[in-house]
Structure formats: C-alpha cells, structure tokens
C-alpha cells in the first residue's frame, strides 16, 4: 500500500497554502519572542562595537572563538539544501519532494546568518574594508588575495546567489498558484513573481531543464564552500592540529550531516505547526533517517582519520592539542559529549525503523546531531589555538563572554524567525513537486501483494 491518503489538487492547494492564507494564532507571539531575542543581541552587538572586542572572551592567541565556530556551523547547515534538493533530484529519489523547499530555504537563511558572524567577529565591522581595499600604500600593506579568508566570501556569495536562483526557479509554479488564490496587493505581487506562468508544456519543460541544470551546476559550488571554509584552518601550517589534508571532505560530510539533520527537524516542526501530516509523512522522515545513517558513518570515518593521523605524526605540538582535547577540563567533557551526540546517540536511534518513524525520537536525534556538530567546530578551533604554536609563544585559555553567548543564541532565533516569515508568504512544501510525485505514483500487483511503484522516464 502507498502511504498517505490520495488527495485532490484542491485539497493540496488548501492544505499547503494554509500557512499563507490563514495566520495561525501562535504565529505572531512566537515571532515577537524571537524578535525580542534579536533585539537583545542587537544591543549586545552595539555595546561590543562601542567598547571593542575586549568584551568578548577572545584573547591572544585565541583570536577565533564562538563567532567563528558559529560561522562554520551555519555554513554547515546550509549544505542541506543542495544535498536534499540537487543531489536527490539528480538521483530521482521520490521521497525528496516535500523536503526540498524547506531545505533550500534553510540554506539561504543559514548562509545569510553565517555571513553575519565574521562581520560581528571583526568587532568594528568597518574594518572589513581593510581586508578588501589596499589602505596603506607607503608601508606596502596589501590585502592578501591568496589567503583562503578571501576565497571564503567569494565561494559563499556564489553559493548564496546560486541557491537563491535555485529557490526562485522552483517557486515559480507555486507563485502562479498563489496568484490564482489571492486578491488585491498580494495578487499583484504574486503575479509579478509568477512571471506569466501558465503551466503550458514549454514552460514546464524549461522549468525542469533549469532545475536539473542548476542542480548540476550548484554541486561544485556546494562542495567548494565548505572546503574553502575548512582551508581557513587547513592552510594554517602554524596551528598543527589544523594543518590536515582530510579537512575539506571531513568538513563537507559534517556539513551534510548537520544540515540534513536540521532539515529533518524543521520538517517535523512544520508538520506539527501547520498540520501537514498528509505531506510530510513518516516515510519521508524514515528515508531521511536512513540517509543520515550513511552520512553519519561517513562523517565518523573522517573524524577517525583526522584524529588518528593527528597522532600518527607523533609531533609534540600536535600531540599537545590532542591531549588538550582528550584530557583537559572542560574540553575532555565537551569531546565526549560531541562524539556521543553527533554519532552514537543518533545512529543508534536511526537503526530502528520504528524509532525513525517516531517523530519525537527523530527530533531528539536531529537536535543531538546539531549540538554535537556545533561542539565539533568549537573543539577544532579553540584547543588548536590555546596551545603554543609555531610562531607564537603565548598560551591562554578561552572563556566565552555573555556577549558572545547572546549573539550566538540570537542566530538560532534569526534563522527560525526568517523561516517562519518565509512560510507566511511562500509555501514551504513545494506544491508542484508534491503534485507531480502524486501523479507518477502507481502500484504493481505481485501475487497477493500490492507494491508501491513509480513511473520513470528513465
């Protein structure tokens, strides 16, 4: 038997546009609370700009702390969009359909949030100009265009641009549905956004070709973004634990792990908030769980490589960093929490089909992954810096200040609020994709059993 009810087009439109056409009672109170958190963070940033980075726990040599950890974390989350949308589209995985839009939108908002972090990290954001423009000709101070710190914004902006295009292309048919279901200003806005979409054969063909082409083109960008972020660390030969050749694939797989987990959790929340039980079904969450077992295990393999080869060299300064990670309080505790929450808790939960289909358990597993993945970035960055390095002769510990904690917490509020606001104006489950999947569904009779099947052009 196919899972889920057979739904008419009218029912699908009504259900999936509910978040736009009717405002749930909880919506504005939740947005207000999130807005308050952002306001507090804005005040914290204001104080930091006024007083300087001294209000944070950053010091010499720990110049990168919570902000950069959070930057890497949100870049990681942004990998969900391409993984679920582009790769699964190319692989023609049917179960991807309801998850793609949420994943793509999460990509956009997490990328935007990630980009804020280095700006905040500068303490006084106008100093970014110093990185971009040569400001002191006489002393020969030039921006180093060969540093990965310059490749970063290029890759991230390219990813943001292509992801935005990706979302817009996929939204066009849904804009047309919204245009036909609204009146007044909303109707006019959606008419402009729908760009004259009538749903004729030519338009569909172009839309599909554009989607497939973008899926293929965005893949190298997707891989490059987190690779380049990893090279922010990997190219620094002076911080021994960072100079590892495996960093690029390790970061990319980790990003997919955290990103897909975040999307699975977001889907569960959407299902609960908007009553989309007929669209975001247990089978979809189950499939995400199975995918995550493979991703998590791949990630764990890279983690083992990273640690093992860190010690393989038997270089005293690198061993010192590992000693810090494994034996010094509080890093040893964080390390245990990190490994357990990122791999062992979720994978054990995902191994059971019944647990993969239990939304509470899946939520716990997905949140657990992201707690662990945040800690992973922290444990890469900070222990590497607190030890003596090749070119520095100071040691220091790092304790994040309340300013850093507030600002980092606010980024979670920001992404949640942006997702909610998006769901107020655009459908977070792609109508056309779900409808297409429904049309292609069929069944095959084998003996006394009816087996779910799909029409495939190839």
């Amino acid at each position: 038997m196919q899972e889920g009810r057979v739904l008419s087009t009218r029912e699908m439109n009504r259900d999936l546009l509910r978040s736009i056409l009717d405002t749930p009672r909880w919506f504005w109170p939740v947005v207000t609370v999130l807005g308050l958190v952002l306001l507090i963070a804005a005040i914290a940033i204001g104080i930091m700009v006024n007083r300087g980075l001294g209000v944070t726990g950053l010091n010499r040599p720990v110049a990168w702390g919570f902000f950069i950890t959070n930057f890497v974390f949100w870049i990681g989350i942004s990998h969900a969009g391409v993984m679920l949308s582009a790769i699964l589209r190319l692989a023609k995985a049917e179960w991807r359909r309801p998850a793609t839009r949420a994943a793509e939108v999460l990509t956009l908002f997490s990328l935007m949030t990630a980009m804020i972090m280095p700006i905040v990290h500068t303490g006084r954001p106008w100093r970014i100009l110093y990185w971009v423009f040569p400001y002191d000709f006489a002393r020969g101070i030039w921006p180093n265009i060969r540093t990965p710190l310059v490749w970063d914004p290029s890759a991230i902006l390219t990813y943001l641009t292509s992801s935005t295009l990706f979302v817009i292309i996929a939204l066009i048919p849904d804009f047309a549905v919204l245009r036909d279901h609204t009146t007044g200003i909303a109707h006019r806005v959606y008419s402009v956004l729908a760009m004259g979409w009538e749903g004729n054969a030519r338009q569909w063909k172009l839309q599909i070709v554009a989607g497939v082409l973008l899926s293929a083109l965005i893949l190298p960008v997707f891989v490059s973004v987190h690779s380049i972020v990893s090279w922010d660390f990997g190219m620094a030969a002076s911080v021994k634990s960072w100079h590892s050749t495996v960093f690029a694939p390790y970061f990319v797989v980790g990003a997919v792990h955290s990103g897909v987990s975040a999307v699975a959790f977001a889907l569960i929340l959407l299902r609960w908030c908007y009553g989309w039980q007929d669209y975001i079904r247990h089978e979809h969450i189950d499939a995400l769980g199975r995918l995550l077992i493979v991703v998590a295990t791949g990630w764990f393999y890279f983690l083992v490589m990273e640690i093992l080869f860190g010690m393989y060299g038997r270089e005293p300064d690198e061993l010192m960093v590992r000693q810090t990670q494994f034996t010094y309080w509080p890093y040893n505790a964080w390390f245990i929490v990190f490994v357990i929450t990122t791999y062992f808790i979720p994978v054990i939960l995902w191994l059971s089909r019944a647990w993969r289909r239990n939304l509470w358990i899946m939520s716990i597993a997905c949140i657990s992954v992201n707690i662990g993945m945040w800690l992973e970035r922290f444990l890469i960055i900070v222990p590497g810096l607190i030890n003596k390095q090749l070119f520095t002769f100071v040691w220091a510990d790092y304790r994040p200040s309340i300013f850093e904690i507030i600002i980092v917490a606010a980024t979670f509020a920001l992404v949640t609020m942006l997702m909610l606001l998006f769901s107020r104006v655009f459908p977070l489950v792609p109508l056309y994709d779900v409808k297409e999947g429904d049309v292609l569904k069929t069944q095959v009779q084998i003996g006394r059993r009816t087996v779910p099947a799909t029409f495939r052009e190839d």
Binding site: M235, V451, A453
Partner: protein
C-alpha cells in the same frame, strides 16, 4: 536452445531504445545455466591469454625473489604496485552488489553476480600479499636501537605483538572470508536450482554448497537479512583494510608523509575502478558472451552517473591533499610533493590524471555517451589505466625512498624504472586476476538468476498519458 534474443523483450523508445530488457522469467534458469556450462572458443582464447600472462608473472616473481631476496623493500616496489592495483579493484568489487542491493536499485540485478564473483580473487589476494609482508621493513629500526630513529612512523603506535605482519594478514583473511560468504549466500538459490541440470564436479559442488536450500520463505528471509548484514560488515571492513594497507605500505614508507586524506582517496579510487571493471565485464558479456537479453543499457547508464561522481570525488580528494601541502609551504611537505608529483614521477602523475580524471570526466558528462554500453565501459577502462599508474607511482616511490626510518625526506630521490621482471610481475598480476575470474565464471553463473527473476516482477512497461514508460516497484 533458442537464441538469447528470442527469450527477451526490450523496453523503451526514442533515446531510451534498448535501455531496459525484460527476460522471460520461466526461461532464465535454463538459459543462464546453459551459458555457464558452455565453453565457447572466445572463452578458451581468453583463458589461454590469461594463463600465459599469469605464467609470466610467476617467472618474474621467481627471478626477483632469487636474485634480490626479501631483505630490502626497494626491488619489490612494482610488485607492491600491482598487488595494490589488484586489491584496490577486486577488493571493492563485491561491494557494488551490496551497495545497490541496499538502495534497492533494480538496475543492479544483472551486475550483482559479476561483482560478487570477485570474492574469489580476494582469496588469491591473500597469497599475493604474503611476499609483500616479507619485503616490508620492520617497524623497529634494526640499526638504531635506543636512538631517536628507533621506529618509523606507523599505525601500530605501541607496536603490539605480531605488528604489523600478523594483523595485516588477519585483515586480508577476514576480508576474503566475508566476501566469499557474500558470494556463497547470494549464489545459493542459483546453485540449488542448477543442481538439477549440472553434471560432474559441478553437481557435487552445488550439492555441497547449496544442498540445504529449499527456497522456503524462512530461508529467503534469512538469506536477505544475511546479505544485508554481511554487506554492511564488508563495507566497513574493506574501508578499514584499505586504510591499513595504504598507510602501512605507502605512507609509512615515506619519511614525514602524513596525509589523512590518502586512505579515503584510495577507497574512492577503489570504488571508481571496481565499478569501471564491472562495466567492462558487463560489456564483454553483452558483446561476446550472449547475455544481451539480460543486459540492457540501463545498468551502464545508471552506473555511469555514479562513475562520474566517483571520478570527481577522487579528483577532489587529490586536490584536497595537494592544496594543503602546496599552500602550507613547509619544506618537508614540499619534498614529498616534488617526489610523488612534480619531479621524478611527473610523467606518471600527468598520465594518472589524464586517465583517472580527464578522460572519464569528459566522456561521462556527455549524455549520449552515457546512454551507450561502450561509453561507460571505455570510461571505466580509462579509470583502470589511471589507477594502475597511480599505484605504480605511489608504491614504486614509497618502496624506494632509501632510509624509511628518517624523520623527513631531506632530498628528492630519483625515480626507479621497472626492469623486465617488474614488467612480468605487473602483467602476471593482471593475468592471475583474469584467470581466476574466468575459471570462477564457469562454476558460478555470471547472472544472479534469482535477482533477475525477482526483477521481472518489479519492473514493467506501462502506459502513462500518451506514452509507454517504465514502472518501478519498490517493496518495503
């Protein structure tokens, strides 16, 4: 017996012509068994060539062993290279069946047995591995006890008893046992069916291996669960053994070479090349083996996309290594880059890139070529040539660095060219694989009969709107 084409119906139209084939379920067993038991002249010719190559390898090995002995690793660099190539390609091959069985991809059905049959080569790998153990320098430096150069870099940090020889050998034995178990479990239903028509030693073998099989529902459930469990275990095991092997026999032989991305890169290349090899075998079966009724273009097309992905992934891993070392500008790392990539082995490196990346990439991004049977096979062949060059470059270099106990590579050693016995051993390695595989193909059917028959239930052509399209059923 009617020709193969008469037994089957084709599916697909336009650009999909010949994409899918639907063998008649009731005739699959007798047809495949007949092909397995037959000895056509083309098969005999291939067997003869493989036997000659294998004999050359034995001669090369015997002369190398008698003239150089096993006291120093240097003369065994090319032997290590061909062993690594054979292990890389054939070790990962059974995984192709396991992986796509796990994802319930129907296109895998005709290639499952082709991939699992490489398990037999895995057993031969154990024998080929033993001389390498003898040639490998010990972890502890026999000439520098009590000094800073007492041990070379190794995965066996505290050098447990028997390290590295016993543990390395155990890894290979475990791997071979697991892959043979997969082959046995997968081939059991086919062997049980073939008992009725087989004669001579085959009948005895099939009875011994599959006499217990009656095809009850319980047995089928156990078989499928067993295949899933063994497949998952094999997946973890192959990655582990590859990690041990490439670290132990390549990285640790080059002073200061610390490259955490090398094991994943080696593994990705093994997936790439094993898929390439399977495509070549499928192409040969389709073209000359009379299996065109079982092999549409769908397996080639579907596998080609994965081959393209693996090609890109391998290049990505290589680049991750290269850029980290190159940008780091540490002198010791620069020497390793010069040694392995840009100076003595530059021609091999360039040829490696050409065949492992450029040729397959340019071929596989072209859709019409991916839709053919020869395109992906040719790309697979290119990947195999590239992998052979990769192994020659890596192992010939690693075994000839001079003092393996140094802290760092203080100079860039010269390239070591193969002599005639090295060439014999390289050809022999390829010959042994072909010989063992060809002999195995006459014992086990090259088509997984039960899977193909099962596939006919789950796939059919049906009308959708105005056209005929493939319907794929996915059981839970």
């Amino acid at each position: 017996m009617a020709s193969s084409a008469e037994h089957h119906q084709g599916g697909g139209h336009g650009q999909h012509a010949g994409m899918w084939v639907f063998p008649r379920r009731e005739e699959v067993t007798s047809d495949v068994s007949g092909k397995t038991f037959a000895m056509p002249s083309v098969y005999k010719l291939a067997l003869g060539i493989a036997a000659v190559l294998a004999a050359l390898g034995v001669v090369g090995f015997a002369i190398r062993a008698s003239s150089d002995g096993f006291g120093s690793p240097g003369p065994w660099g090319y032997y290590a290279a061909i062993f690594s190539f054979v292990f890389m390609v054939t070790g990962a091959a059974p995984l192709v069946a396991c992986a796509f069985r796990f994802t319930k991809s129907h296109w895998r059905r005709p290639l499952s047995r082709v991939s699992e049959l490489f398990a037999i080569v895995g057993v031969v790998n154990i024998v080929l591995f033993i001389p390498l153990l003898l040639a490998m320098p010990p972890i502890k430096n026999p000439d520098a006890q009590g000094t800073d150069l007492e041990v070379r870099r190794t995965l066996w940090f505290e050098v447990p008893i028997g390290a590295p020889y016993t543990w390395d050998l155990l890894c290979f034995v475990g791997l071979a046992l697991c892959s043979v178990a997969i082959l046995w479990l997968s081939a059991t239903p086919d062997m049980a069916q073939a008992r009725a028509t087989a004669t001579g030693f085959r009948r005895g073998l099939y009875t011994a291996l599959a006499g217990w099989w009656y095809g009850t529902k319980r047995q089928w459930n156990h078989q499928k669960a067993g295949l899933a469990l063994l497949g998952a275990f094999y997946f973890m095991l192959i990655i582990f053994v590859q990690f041990i092997f490439i670290t132990e026999f390549a990285m640790s032989m080059v002073p200061f070479w610390k490259d955490s991305v090398l094991p994943p890169m080696y593994t990705v290349m093994s997936f790439q090349t094993s898929l390439g090899l399977i495509l070549i075998v499928l192409f040969i079966m389709r073209k000359w083996g009379g299996y065109e009724g079982y092999l549409g273009k769908a397996p080639f097309w579907s596998a080609s996309k994965i081959l393209l992905g693996l090609t890109l992934l391998w290049t990505y891993h290589l680049f991750a290594f290269f850029i980290t070392y190159w940008y780091g500008r540490l002198e010791v790392e620069q020497n390793i880059l010069k040694y392995l990539f840009t100076q003595p082995y530059l021609p091999l490196f360039l040829a490696n890139m050409l065949f492992s990346f450029l040729v397959p990439f340019l071929m596989l991004i072209w859709n019409p070529l991916r839709r053919s049977a020869w395109g992906p096979s040719l790309a697979g062949l290119s990947a195999l040539v590239g992998a052979l060059l990769f192994n020659l470059r890596t192992f010939a270099a690693a075994f000839n660095t001079g003092n393996h106990y140094e802290f760092a590579l203080s100079h860039v050693p010269a390239a070591v060219l193969p002599d005639i016995w090295d060439i014999f051993m390289v050809l022999g390695g390829l010959g042994i694989v072909a010989l063992v595989y060809l002999v195995s193909a006459k014992v086990f059917p090259l088509i997984s009969i039960w899977e193909v028959k099962e596939g006919t239930l789950y796939q059919k052509m049906d009308t959708f709107v105005r056209g005929e399209y493939l319907v794929l059923a996915k059981p839970e």
